[in-house]
């Protein structure tokens, strides 16, 4: 029974028909029990290492158990959750060591109790989760965290599904591989792991995973594009595009290229989101569970490494009480801006300088107080030239050219191009951007009925500003008024070097805001970044075409 086989069985669990779920669960039950039986004598629980001869068998079993564990926690169907828990209990009773989840819930930053519990969902989320589960056979932590914003989540899953599984110019395993490449650019272990599994499941060649140089030349050619898009999209020229499209037998077609570009930008920004929300590894993947018995302290190593100590928590709480009123100040500022907008009119030169100031300021080095995190899988091998990043670039003091959104905007230009080459997808992306941009509950922390459009626009435009995208009709002075330094640092880190985000950064901005609102900010960041990268890529393609 190999993995492929197993996949078929797990799939049946996603059925909405309870009896077929039941049947599939039965099968899994039998399978687990049989494995345990064939493992022979149950290893002495006291002995520290299992007999060497069983290595492959036991790792098989462990993978199985990890999956069951994941199901017991994350499956949207209650019956399956219960059965899985029972099964694990039974396995433990037999004397086999069972895994337990590492970390606290889907996110390192957000306490588990804040995040939606799979067991208590309202109807809408339940059905979204069921859909996702039926399609993917899992409910990843990203979806759980996004569950704060069901409207967006629904669209996000639809887009992802369309991009990865539906008809498209690229073959399935290529899509996952490109996702891996993009995520690896930011050393996003979480996404890499997730897609390595998917990649293998759709029949990808495991050899490719050893590094980009093992992949076909066609894919290797994307390395450059990936690198530029991730870090300096404004440098993308039509020559880059031409090189990809005219490479003899290794050349890409335009439709494929659009697909590639969308995948790359999506996964770059998704990596931002993953780090920005401190997504934990999924339970069934490496690092998401452990077979070690719980340690005394109750915190595992990675929690401590990320400063998720109890002390920190207390400290944070204290600060919050000190800084109460932050929200009110912000709201006051927004009100002022709204009112005085008409009275005091800055000169055009002033406006231009304001934009330039924000742009250069956003280039400044982010204080690197953070410790390097060590990726468990060697992700860097999926891309070339790991040294290429923001760091060396802003040290050189490079100037970012300005792209005026009036000259190349998503609504007018990008959409048409995408829709032309990758039919229907433009529509999906358009909806996604719009939902992200317009999402609001008219609340700010504890205040109700607030018009947050100004704040959202400031965030969106600030991110675009970091990419040199300028809105003629926006006063960039507003950004300075509305976004404080801590928040800016967070945004900058998230967009530039998401791998350096720490819990401290996450905690230190907008202390009084709810976690759901911080996730909302992360969504905005992610979409704005994606759109910015996409704009540059599409502009290059347009230039190539004309």
């Amino acid at each position: 029974m190999d993995m492929r086989d197993a996949a078929g069985r797990w799939d049946a669990l996603g059925s909405r028909d309870s009896s077929s779920r039941h049947a599939a669960m039965e099968l899994i039950h039998q399978e687990v029990m049989k494995r345990i039986e064939t493992m022979g004598p149950i290893p002495d629980p006291q002995s520290s290492s299992p007999p060497a001869m069983d290595d492959s068998l036991s790792s098989d079993l462990n993978a199985l158990l990890a999956h069951v564990l994941m199901l017991s926690k994350r499956c949207p169907y209650e019956d399956i959750r219960k059965k899985c828990t029972c099964l694990l209990q039974k396995v433990q009773d037999v004397g086999v060591r069972i895994p337990r989840p590492v970390g606290n819930g889907p996110s390192r930053f957000i306490p588990e109790k804040e995040i939606l519990q799979v067991s208590k969902l309202d109807k809408r989320i339940q059905s979204i989760f069921e859909d996702a589960f039926a399609v993917l056979g899992r409910l990843d932590n990203i979806s759980l965290v996004m569950g704060f914003h069901p409207q967006y989540l629904e669209n996000f899953l639809k887009t992802q599904h369309y991009l990865l599984q539906m008809d498209g110019p690229l073959s399935l395993h290529c899509r996952h591989y490109i996702g891996i490449m993009a995520a690896a650019r930011h050393q996003c272990t979480y996404l890499v792991n997730l897609h390595v599994n998917d990649f293998l499941q759709v029949g990808g060649d495991p050899k490719w995973l050893n590094g980009l140089e093992e992949a076909p030349q066609k894919l290797q050619a994307l390395g450059e594009l990936n690198k530029i898009l991730a870090h300096r999209p404004w440098l993308l020229t039509k020559e880059h595009i031409e090189r990809l499209l005219k490479a003899e037998e290794h050349s890409w077609s335009l439709a494929e290229l659009i697909h590639v570009v969308v995948l790359l930008t999506l996964y770059h920004s998704l990596a931002s989101f993953t780090f920005g929300c401190g997504i934990n590894p999924d339970i069934h993947t490496d690092g998401g569970h452990t077979f070690r018995p719980p340690s005394l302290s109750g915190y595992c190593a990675c929690d401590i490494a990320n400063g998720n100590g109890a002390l920190e928590e207390m400290f944070g709480n204290q600060q919050v009480s000190e800084l109460s009123g932050e929200v009110e100040v912000l709201m006051e500022k927004m009100k002022q801006l709204q009112e005085c907008h008409d009275e005091e009119e800055a000169s055009q030169e002033e406006m231009a300088t304001r934009f330039e100031r924000e742009k250069t300021e956003s280039m400044l080095v982010v204080t690197s107080e953070d410790e390097e995190c060590v990726p468990s899988r060697d992700v860097s091998r999926h891309f070339e030239d790991p040294s290429y990043g923001y760091k060396d670039f802003y040290r050189r003091g490079e100037h970012v050219p300005t792209l005026r959104v009036q000259d190349y905007s998503w609504e007018d230009h990008g959409f048409s191009l995408v829709n032309r080459l990758y039919p229907d997808f433009g529509q999906l992306l358009d909806e996604k951007f719009q939902i992200a941009y317009n999402l609001t509950y008219n609340t700010m922390a504890t205040h109700q009925g607030v018009d947050t459009s100004m704040l959202r626009r400031a965030i969106w435009n600030y991110i675009h500003c970091m990419f040199g995208i300028r809105y003629d009709d926006y006063d960039y002075g507003e950004i300075n008024q509305l976004l404080d330094r801590g928040f800016k640092v967070y945004i900058k880190t998230m967009v530039r070097t998401p791998e350096k985000i720490t819990k401290r950064m996450y905690d230190s901005f907008w202390r009084q805001f709810k976690h759901s609102e911080k996730v909302h900010v992360n969504l905005l960041l992610m979409e704005a970044r994606m759109q910015a990268e996409l704009l540059y890529a599409l502009r290059a393609i347009t230039r190539y075409m004309t």
Binding site: E349, D412, T546
Partner: protein, 779 residues
């Protein structure tokens, strides 16, 4: 009158000049002598001279030009020739007065919009009224004598993309929005729009009022469509729709040409198209000069349809002469071919081309007017003098696969199921099959069978055949001639069914690619006439009706079907009697083959019936003919007939046809049968076939792998007990005994049991007898 003389003084040629920067919009002054070009980094006025553009004025002054100069749109006042308005990307609306003595011509600056202003529009008759539409969702009306806006209109949605004053209605203006809506406003009522409708999916980038038709508004959107709306009725109605190949950035009605409008696109496509809205499938004219997207188009003079000005992102300003435009119609391919969902084939071509080969259909129609009336349907479109399209009349032929609306292969299934291939004497088999074919309205096949019987069966021998048989042979001539007639009639009918006769012969002015849509679409346009006088609705109806009954399967092309009839008519001579063998007397009934025979080879019908008992023809004599006939059928795609005949004739013919061909036929036929899930028939054919390769088809994959119902492991041993879990597999779910013999099980839940038990059980209950809750189906 004065206007006209004015127009006539304008002359010129296709010309262009380089701008320093990409243009965003252009506008022309009323007397068509000057054009203003505005863009992010350009704001200039050019004079239009006989032989080129001359730069008159640069409005971009000052050392560090402000964003107010960064124009998204510009408009020249049509009443006041010194007055211009621009929309700036930073949200400012600026007016310029060329009469100002100083270098800076800026007159007024309105900074009321918070976002980019997409469009400005002067009132066509009111000097001081200016309208603007902005990204912030507001439209503002300015009185140029005042410092601020007079009224603000809120679209209640984001992003106004275009605003246009109605040319005929003083108070009305239209606004188009990014969410796909178009709103109509009364300038006096800022509180609420008069009308709103959804025009496009996605943003509506532009709109334009018809210069003459009061209620017509053209809109263009990101969904690549240009639509013309009629607002004069109580409900807004879409009257024309043009599908372009890229999102539509600008649309402008052509002066003096009621149905023409010009469009340019925002992305990818750089050409400017002029469409006749009644011919939405092919542009009337195309200007292909620009190298990057065209951003602004304007007709040079509001009463002159021959000059078009355009600005582009490629930093050029063009004047296009209409006579230099390329006409895609001329290059369009006037033939079209398309397969329909049910295997219908439509072919359209210029009428001249269609009538060139001997038009069999016409002949058929004349000969058999009764049956033929329905197919030639002519649609005539009254030529419209205002249309300037080349008159192309083309014919559309539809070759329908018959057998009505269903799959179109019913005849195949029916035939396959009803034919008898073995188990009876040869004569009876032939007779039966002939009946079957006749019943299914396939006279040619029916006759073939009859002829085969005559050719190959035993001589009519009283001792051998019954009275009945004798009767039959007595009847033969009659039958024969009858079926002949029938057949020719049927053939001609088929002709008509195949619609050799050009069916819908449309006199249209476009190339016929579009014909189809043309006929269905467009309520707004005219007048189709049934050209065929005889044709009325009833006929049309009955024709559909007949159609269902008729089952002629293949598309017989006229040339093939037709000669047949001729042959039948002038069969020249009787066959020459050849020596006879005792087993095989017979008549030569070769009409079947006549399809492929030349007339000299074929036998006259009459002589056949007369020769009926001239018993000197050995069956061998017919073999070449039969062989040819089989090949003919196979070639026609009716491999069913070929194989059936092959099987029924058996040894009589087998040696004549080489093994490989036979095998090929068998394989094709079996494949077809299996496609139609006629497993039994296919099996029978396999069994009856004499080819080694076919016979052995039955011998493969005869193994059935089963898993134990308890432990889900494959059952490897032969017995009834699974060697792993040591339980009896395949226990009957009803009686709980082991099933030895026919075991039937549900593919859904894999429970089952004795065939009779399960049948019994499922008569009473829908659920699985094992109690698993599955709703089993037994069919």
């Amino acid at each position: 009158m004065e206007k006209l003389t004015r127009v006539s003084t304008i002359s010129g040629r296709t010309m262009f000049c380089h701008l320093d920067a990409p243009a965003n919009a252009i506008s022309v002054c009323r007397d068509a002598t000057q054009v203003v070009v505005a863009g992010r980094n350009i704001f200039k006025i050019y004079g239009l001279e006989e032989d080129g553009f001359v730069e008159r004025l640069n409005l971009r002054v000052g050392r560090k030009p402000s964003l107010n100069f960064s124009c998204a749109d510009v408009m020249w006042h049509q009443m006041e020739e010194n007055l211009l308005a621009t929309a700036a990307t930073n949200g400012a609306v600026v007016t310029w007065n060329l009469a100002r003595p100083c270098r800076n011509k800026q007159e007024q600056l309105f900074t009321e919009h918070k976002r980019t202003v997409n469009k400005v529009c002067f009132h066509p008759t009111e000097v001081n009224m200016l309208l603007s539409g902005s990204q912030d969702g507001f439209m503002k009306c300015f009185d140029l004598r005042k410092k601020e806006s007079v009224s603000t209109f809120s679209g209640q949605s984001e992003s106004v993309r275009d605003v246009q004053f109605s040319i005929k209605d003083y108070f009305t203006f239209a606004a188009s929005f990014e969410n796909g809506n178009v709103q109509l406003w009364d300038i006096r009522r800022p509180d609420r729009y008069e009308r709103m409708f959804t025009a496009h999916t996605g943003p509506v980038f532009c709109c334009d009022w018809h210069p003459e038709d009061r209620g017509w508004l053209a809109t263009g959107g990101r969904d690549k469509m240009v639509k013309v709306w009629d607002m004069s009725t109580s409900r807004v109605k879409e009257i024309y729709c043009v599908q372009t190949i890229a999102s539509v950035a600008r649309v402008k009605w052509r002066p003096e040409r009621r149905y023409h409008l010009a469009t340019c696109s925002m992305m990818v496509d750089h050409n400017i198209y002029v469409w006749d809205v009644r011919r939405p499938f092919i542009p009337f004219a195309t200007f292909e000069e620009h190298k990057d997207v065209t951003t602004g188009i304007v007709w040079r003079h509001q009463h002159d349809p021959y000059f078009l000005l355009s600005g582009s992102k490629d930093s050029t300003l063009y004047q296009h002469m209409f006579k230099d435009a390329s006409r895609p119609v001329d290059r369009a391919n006037p033939e079209g071919l398309c397969f329909g969902l049910f295997g219908d084939l439509a072919f359209a071509a210029k009428e001249s081309l269609m009538s060139a080969p001997p038009s069999v259909g016409d002949v058929g129609r004349k000969t058999y007017p009764g049956g033929d009336r329905r197919y030639p349907i002519f649609f005539f479109k009254k030529p419209d003098v205002t249309e300037q399209f080349e008159q192309v009349s083309s014919a559309l032929s539809v070759f329908e696969s018959e057998a009505g609306s269903s799959v179109g292969m019913d005849w195949f299934i029916n035939t396959a199921q009803s034919y008898l291939l073995s188990g009876k004497p040869f004569g009876e088999l032939c007779e039966h099959n002939a009946q079957v074919a006749k019943r299914l309205n396939r006279p040619q096949e029916s006759t073939t069978w009859t002829m085969l019987r005559i050719m190959f069966s035993e001589p009519a021998n009283p001792s051998l055949s019954s009275n009945h048989n004798l009767n039959k042979s007595g009847n033969l001539p009659l039958v024969n001639s009858f079926s002949m007639k029938e057949m020719s009639a049927a053939l001609s009918e088929r002709n008509k069914e195949n619609r050799q006769d050009n069916l819908h012969s449309l006199e249209t002015n476009l190339n016929n690619n579009d014909e189809n849509e043309e006929t269905e679409g467009s309520e707004g346009q005219a007048e189709y006439l049934f050209g065929d006088a005889e044709l009325d609705d009833d006929d049309l109806y009955s024709m559909e009706h007949d159609n269902q009954a008729a089952e002629e399967p293949e598309y017989l092309l006229p040339q093939e079907a037709f000669p047949l009839r001729h042959e039948i008519i002038d069969h020249p001579s009787a066959p020459e009697p050849v020596q006879e063998r005792p087993e095989s007397p017979h008549v030569s009934g070769s009409e079947t083959e006549s399809t492929c025979l030349t007339s000299t080879e074929s036998f006259s019908l009459i002589s056949v019936s007369q020769l009926l008992f001239s018993p000197h023809l050995p069956p061998k004599f017919f073999c070449p003919i039969v062989k040819e006939m089989l090949c003919y059928y196979a070639e026609q795609g009716d491999v069913q007939m070929a194989v059936s005949v092959l099987i029924v004739l058996g040894d009589r013919i087998r040696k004549e046809i080489d093994e490989l061909t036979q095998e090929h036929w068998y394989m094709s036929y079996i494949d077809l049968l299996q496609r139609f899930e006629l497993w039994n028939v296919s099996n029978e054919v396999i069994k009856l076939s004499t080819c080694g390769a076919i016979m052995c088809l039955n011998q493969t994959s005869t193994t059935l792998h089963i898993n134990c119902s308890n432990c889900k492991r494959p059952m490897s041993n032969k017995g009834w007990i699974c060697d792993r879990c040591h339980q009896c597999a395949s226990v009957c779910a009803v009686c709980h005994h082991v099933v030895k013999g026919l075991f039937v099980w549900c593919q859904g839940c894999s429970h089952g049991g004795h065939l009779e038990h399960v049948m019994e059980w499922l008569k009473h209950s829908k659920h699985c007898p094992a109690g698993c809750g599955h709703l089993c189906e037994y069919t």
